[in-house]
């Protein structure tokens, strides 16, 4: 079998006495959507931060596209094709929506040591950025300061910025968190459109979204993967139901 696109082995991260990830192994095949679920504080965001390069693991390795990226900083991983969206919206609030995405395009269109030509006059940056805003449903909101977008729109912008880096692997941290029903339905539609085109690791609490999108699910509890498998198998797994899913399934 070919090496998976993302291969995580023995990933461990400790904050003082708290073990946030306790020897996590994950394999994500190219084109697949893996949902990582688990109760609050299970270490899902810490896992994602290590995959993205925001946090250095204490032990373990991360291989991506056949290379060991464990020691690479976030910016370098982005250039290998890894993109992340943040759980707590992280955008350039005082830039316009379009400027946010154009900057993400710029980051992957040669160096930025250019001092003369206005960036907003570079069609090679603006046009792809506009197309991506259309794709995520923010086409009409390009000129608005990003900080004034509604919460749901800011979440869409998160996705747009990730897409603008033309990633092979998307790391999405609770993309529907805090959204109303209608907004989250739209977001799930958007993400469904990305499946297959991108490999996705999705951390999510919203079970409707997870079961709508995931090819496979890994359940993380106390920093360990307690179960991995197809959604039906996870739904039926008694250990998972006890540890986590139980209440939500019956609710």
């Amino acid at each position: 079998m070919a090496e998976p696109l993302l291969q995580v082995r023995g990933l461990r991260k400790r904050f003082g006495g708290l073990v946030a990830t306790d020897g996590i192994d994950l394999d994500v095949a190219a084109g697949e959507t893996l949902a990582v679920i688990g109760p609050n504080g299970a270490g899902k965001t810490t896992l994602l931060a290590q995959l993205a390069g925001d946090l250095r693991p204490d032990a373990g390795t991360i291989r991506f596209a056949g290379a060991d990226v464990t020691a690479l900083p976030a910016a370098a991983r982005s250039h290998r094709g890894l993109a992340r969206s943040f759980q707590i919206t992280s955008i350039f609030r005082d830039f316009s929506t379009l400027d946010n995405v154009a900057l993400a395009v710029q980051a992957h269109a040669g160096h930025s040591f250019r001092f003369w030509r206005p960036a907003h006059a570079e069609r090679a940056l603006r046009e792809p950025a506009r197309a991506i805003l259309e794709q995520v449903g923010l086409g009409a909101r390009g000129e608005v300061p990003a900080g004034t977008l509604a919460h749901g729109e800011q979440r869409q912008l998160e996705i747009a910025m990730a897409l603008a880096t033309r990633p092979t692997l998307l790391l999405l941290d609770e993309p529907v968190a805090g959204m109303g029903l209608e907004e989250s339905v739209r977001m799930v539609e958007l993400l469904r459109g990305l499946r297959g085109r991108h490999t996705i690791v999705l951390v999510e609490h919203d079970m409707d979204a997870v079961f709508a999108l995931a090819d496979r699910i890994s359940v993380v509890v106390y920093g360990r993967v307690i179960a991995s498998g197809r959604p039906e198998a996870i739904r039926a797994n008694p250990e998972v139901r006890r540890a986590y899913l139980g209440e939500e399934v019956s609710a």
Binding site: A75, S78, R84, F86, I91, D99, L103, A104, F115, A119
Partner: protein, 314 residues
């Protein structure tokens, strides 16, 4: 502010400065020429600080270090009989840029209060080096016996020529700055201030760009230092004292961080206040202090934001 309105306000400011010598002659106060030349020199320093402070969000409290390096880059060659501005000024720019590169490479690994303290520490270190080197005047500093020689008709000994040379340099700085902040580089620098983690996540390593901005700001401030020794015809290590860094920072905050015109206005307000108030009392900063508090509390965009059409960008 739209790029066009920003350009118009900058041109208006430059036009007003260009008219000063005429006004000085009309009211027969040649001293104004001297005062406004000083204002423009500090405006260059303040604009350079604003590149990293206002646009990039890097709170450096050691910016006077480059002022000092620029001043020494004029005075030391002059001591050895080298008076050409074409040697002294590029030297000032290159040396202070290199100093910025070294200081930045170390201090940009920290952030917040640590960054403020480490930039302060570097400047104070250079200050103490300055006062300890006796051949270069030590604590007392040294006189500049001859102003930098530009050659041709550009004789800085003529106060009008010197005035317009400084004005031309300020104009070039503002017009280039106006391009740079909207170019790719400036966009990244503004993004650094806005959200560094996000910048890394989309694939731009903040450190390289911060360091480049830091070194560029140092280089520009070095030129201000070279002009300042010519202005005072004197070099003293006190150009590098941390209170001087504080003065430049006050100019930026007073005038308006994250604008190009703001630091120019701030330098003018600061030095005019100093000039007027210090005639009344040596404790003139007791008046400046509350004024700064008022600006910070009620006009966070600085004096520049109070001008018509001078609202902050974005």
């Amino acid at each position: 502010m739209t790029p066009r309105r920003r350009a118009v306000s900058l041109l208006a400011a430059l036009g007003a400065l260009a008219a000063i010598p005429l006004v000085a002659a009309l009211v027969n106060e040649p001293f104004y020429l001297d005062l406004f030349r000083r204002i423009m020199i500090f405006a260059i320093a303040a604009v350079s600080l604003d590149i990293i402070l206002g646009y990039g969000g890097m709170v450096s409290l050691g910016h006077a270090a480059y002022l000092g390096i620029g001043a020494y880059a004029v005075a030391i060659p002059a001591l050895h009989g080298i008076h050409s501005a074409w040697v002294q000024w590029p030297l000032a720019i290159v040396l202070s840029g290199l100093a910025g590169l070294v200081i930045g490479a170390i201090s940009l690994r920290t952030s917040g209060v640590y960054f403020i303290m480490i930039t302060l520490a570097f400047a104070q270190m250079l200050y103490y080096v300055g006062i300890s080197i006796e051949p270069w005047g030590g604590d007392d500093g040294m006189r500049l016996t001859r102003k930098s020689q530009l050659g041709g008709p550009l004789d800085l000994a003529d106060p009008h020529v010197f005035y317009y040379v400084v004005l031309a340099l300020l104009a070039v700085l503002l017009l280039v700055g106006d391009r740079v902040i909207d170019a790719r580089f400036g966009t990244v620098i503004r993004a650094v201030k806005s959200n560094e983690r996000r910048l890394a996540a989309i694939g731009l390593s903040p450190f390289r760009y911060k360091l480049a901005a830091f070194a560029l700001a140092g280089a520009v401030c070095g030129l201000a230092g070279a002009l300042l020794t010519n202005q005072t015809e004197y070099l003293t290590p006190s150009y590098m004292h941390w209170t001087r860094s504080g003065d430049i920072m006050v100019m930026v905050i007073l005038g308006g961080m994250g604008t190009l015109g703001g630091p120019v206005l701030g330098a003018a307000a600061f030095l005019l206040l100093e000039n007027v108030l210090s005639a009344w009392t040596v404790h003139w900063q007791a008046i400046l202090g509350p004024l700064l508090v008022l600006v910070v509390l009620y006009a966070r965009g600085g004096l520049w934001s109070l001008l018509p059409g001078g609202a902050r960008r974005g």
